[in-house]
Symmetry: C2
């Protein structure tokens, strides 16, 4: 069978659901499925649920499967395929997830932190294909990051590198869940963003956002902020612009440290689109050292909704 | 002749003086000299002056010289040994300094950005010897940095990595010479530090610093601030502590991004000593992600005054 027809299985392990897919070397999802995580029942049960999903996918193809990639929501020691104390999966303490899956299915298994898997996905299948080095940022509940240097993911000494969400842009700024202050996550994470708008909206009685949330600030979502901005609402537009400034400040610091000038943005909030990307790029260009100003690129991620599955499957193609 | 007796020549090229030394593989300076740079006369004259210094050192030994290392105050493309537009040396535009010196002396020549050379010096001869990965920070007029990852200097795509001085810790903070705001250099660089104390001292009429500067704030130097702090002056101690907080915030962001936990601090202001180091470490420990808290190390550089020469000479031993 020709190499190019080989498939990989990508497993996107989340706190609520496990999404799995059969992915071609070109990054096409051939078949997919989803099982509930049952995180509260501990690692043994979760691994059983992962296996159920893998079994289903294997039953769906006659093509040779090259390996299994797993995106894991926590710190991973990739050498050992060992995962450690993920914040959203109780009871996981030094579990050799890679080895267990590998033994069970007699296929090479690769485990990687999910933000790193997303970066590898963009490198192999997506917006990072043509760049040797880039930073991938996922804007979700948290602000996740993956650093690609010379076509390799940078993991750091203990596999904890790329915590871009915890760059402080204001050392006396907003309190972050991590215990520090002014972390970019405390400005750009979904819940923080909602909180900021929730606090500020009362000073903007003219905003169209009031109508979109039915006069109830509890209903604020990034999607509705985006909608209001697209309706040319002045306040919503300023929220998007400010978000770009905050992200741009953090990215400029990163660019000055790492001499990397390409930033790929994914996740729900990236849906704010061009106004957000323009604001980030403008801020970065103002703030990076002069030698880098012309090189700055801020581009949207390509993998979108299937980033989790595709990123995980990319681990298989990345290693080989 | 046994390998260990080989020497390297280290050249510390500054805007005013060129310091040169014959350095043993153990990092001992056998002989040294200094010539004026005459920067204003352009690269040809400066290279002549460098050569004069090298000639003098060569005449002083019968031992075999392994190579010449040059620490350069600007961005260096190390592959080509090419230097570009240094801020303090007028007229240098794409000069192949490495090739020129190599040809002239028939010895391997290595050119490296001076902050990176200092980091390599600490790695080969100094406080970084026992660490695979560390960040080296030099506190001088500017705040320079070098990033060592797995015993290799990290240069970035264009040789401009490690600009630690331009991490912003407050995006609406102090204006920095680079054009951005809140850069750590604008808090910790010598002139900025003097400016801050100059502005604040009038609110502290009781400070012993008044006496040390003869009631003239123009006389403020980091050395006198240190002296006052050592005399237990409350205000001077708060300056040192705040400096540690500012640096600690920037270093915590770096640690979260790079998963590096050892920070080596050199340069004049590092003379503030234990109170400064304690404040940096305390701030970092408060602010880094929990998995790194116990790993944080903040230690003084070892090479001190001869860091320039030794760092440059280390380039020769580093490559071989």
């Amino acid at each position: 069978m020709p190499e190019k027809e080989r498939l990989a299985i990508g497993v996107d392990l989340g706190g609520t659901n496990i999404k799995l897919g059969l992915v071609s070397k070109a990054g096409k999802i051939i078949e997919k499925t989803s099982v509930i995580t049952e995180a509260e029942k501990g690692p043994e049960k979760v691994i059983k649920n992962i296996s159920k999903g893998i079994d289903f996918l294997i039953s769906k193809t006659n093509l040779k499967i090259k390996g299994i990639g797993i995106g894991f929501p926590g710190v991973v020691s990739t050498k050992k395929g060992m995962v450690e104390n993920p914040p959203n999966l109780p009871g996981w303490k030094k579990v050799f997830l890679g080895k267990i899956i590998q033994k069970k299915f007699r296929l090479p298994a690769y485990v990687e932190n999910d933000a790193n898997a997303a970066a590898i996905g963009e490198m192999i299948f997506g917006a990072g294909k043509n760049y040797d080095s880039f930073i991938m940022i996922t804007l979700g509940t948290g602000v996740g990051g993956g650093i690609v240097l010379n076509k390799k993911i940078y993991r750091g000494q203990f596999g904890a590198a790329g915590e871009i969400g915890h760059i402080s842009i204001d050392f006396k700024g907003r309190k972050c869940n991590c215990g520090s202050y002014g972390c970019i996550e405390a400005y750009a994470g979904n819940n923080y963003l909602k909180e900021i708008v929730n606090n500020d909206l009362k000073d903007h009685p003219e905003s169209k956002l009031w109508q979109l949330v039915n006069d109830n600030t509890e209903n604020i979502t990034p999607m509705l902020i985006q909608k209001a901005a697209e309706m040319n609402d002045h306040y919503a537009k300023s929220v998007v612009k400010d978000l770009g400034v905050h992200l741009g400040v953090a990215f400029a610091s990163m660019s000055n440290i790492l001499d990397v000038s390409t930033f790929i943005i994914g996740g729900g909030v990236a849906g704010f689109g061009k106004p957000l990307f323009d604001s980030i790029k403008e801020t970065m260009t103002e703030r990076v050292l002069s030698s880098s100003k012309k090189r700055i690129k801020v581009i949207p991620a390509k993998l979108k909704n299937e980033a989790g599955i595709k990123g995980a499957s990319a681990l298989v193609f990345y290693r080989s």
